[in-house]
Symmetry: C2
Amino acid sequence: LNKNPIGIFDSGIGGLTVVKAVKKILPNEDIVYLGDTARLPYGTKSTDAIIQFSKEDTQFLVDRGAKYVVIACYSSASVALDIVRKRFSVPVIGVIEPGVRRALQITKTGKIGVIGTSLTIFSGAYEKAFKELGADSEILGKACPLFVPLVEEGWLEHDATKLIARDYLEQLKKDNVDTLLLGCTHYPLLMKVIREIMGDINYVDASTEVGVELAQNLAELDMKNPSGAGDTGIYLTDLSMNFKEIGERFLGEPMKNFSRVSLKSTEAAR
Amino acid sequence: LNKNPIGIFDSGIGGLTVVKAVKKILPNEDIVYLGDTARLPYGTKSTDAIIQFSKEDTQFLVDRGAKYVVIACYSSASVALDIVRKRFSVPVIGVIEPGVRRALQITKTGKIGVIGTSLTIFSGAYEKAFKELGADSEILGKACPLFVPLVEEGWLEHDATKLIARDYLEQLKKDNVDTLLLGCTHYPLLMKVIREIMGDINYVDASTEVGVELAQNLAELDMKNPSGAGDTGIYLTDLSMNFKEIGERFLGEPMKNFSRVSLKSTEAAR
């Protein structure tokens, strides 16, 4: 048993969908969340920058006693997971592999669609993960860069959202994927529109799957906290205008315990 | 006369539309451009962070001999112009006031619409500038946060872009503004769609107006460089995947002379 908190980081507040999923599956675990809002988005930064930021984010969580670190940022998980694993002694899980494993479990035809931001898709990280975990699948990736700003605008069912989703998803529909992996924290909020277009296929939400796999790993490693209060501490490196409104949309509940922090290097940047 | 370069900075590469406008009006001037791509976008950051970044950006340009500094970033110009002016001895112009002066010149009814990112609009900077420069106008501001990602996606005339523009601009149309000020570097690229909705009214592109006013100021201060080669040096704090493709869309010509630089504090962040 281990009563220390689970550490979760993202470039922004989108990773709160992972916090929500983990809280649902592991209600007794305390969580420390770091959103590096001062430097978001990671997806437009270079690989070098993302790796450096990911190390600093992990260090912040480890310094706060994290017994396990979850990389909820797809850009970080795409390019920095292996490096962070080598650098730190705590176990680290990324948001990519659990969804891949789940998609491979439930696909019948082996035709799997993956949607995400440009960096996530073009990094090839999903293709690599699928190749390592299941040889025979056909993986069709599609970048959907407008989905994040649409969710942040709150236009979850706007006609424009439907048009954009149709444009992005048309080819995956034609290609008859039987499973669609939502490879971005923001996308579950567009589930209704996505389902209207793609119909009755399998959907895999990576946030949920990372929670499921984390629970299994903690049990295997005997690191669960069965008696904790389930407290969530939220740390953000910058407080923008509407972070609370958007954050609560992701978290699914009021955001109570949050504070602004400086990472060593963002502190130097001030 | 002064043969030193003009310095122009922005949080990203959108400010290259200002470079384009300045080059057209002042073809002999050398230009040093800084795009702080490692920390973009500024619009989602706190006011404190934007002010600090703006000081560092200005210092970088001054260190490279800038005789005049143009703040091409709307978020910076909104919140940091006065502070940067006090701090540095070179003259500084922001991207906001020239457009405001121009809009006041050409409006007949005094009903002026202003569109921009959320921070630009909600900062109240435009209202303040209009109040200082012209008492009787009625200023109607509207934030259009999806326009920037649409331009970066290259969807300049997509049906979704038209629907989104209609949603954003509907009320300004109903309110019968006779002049629309495009208060964001990216927006001139959406001019066709905007004109379809708003019709035959006056349009003010702030990038063009800042070039016009800069030329006047340089002449008044006897700081022109009539015999320069018109070289443009582009410095970016991070090189992302598709900065060149998007940058050339803004610049209107091939991007030749560019390099990655570290500001003192982004260096510390590595």
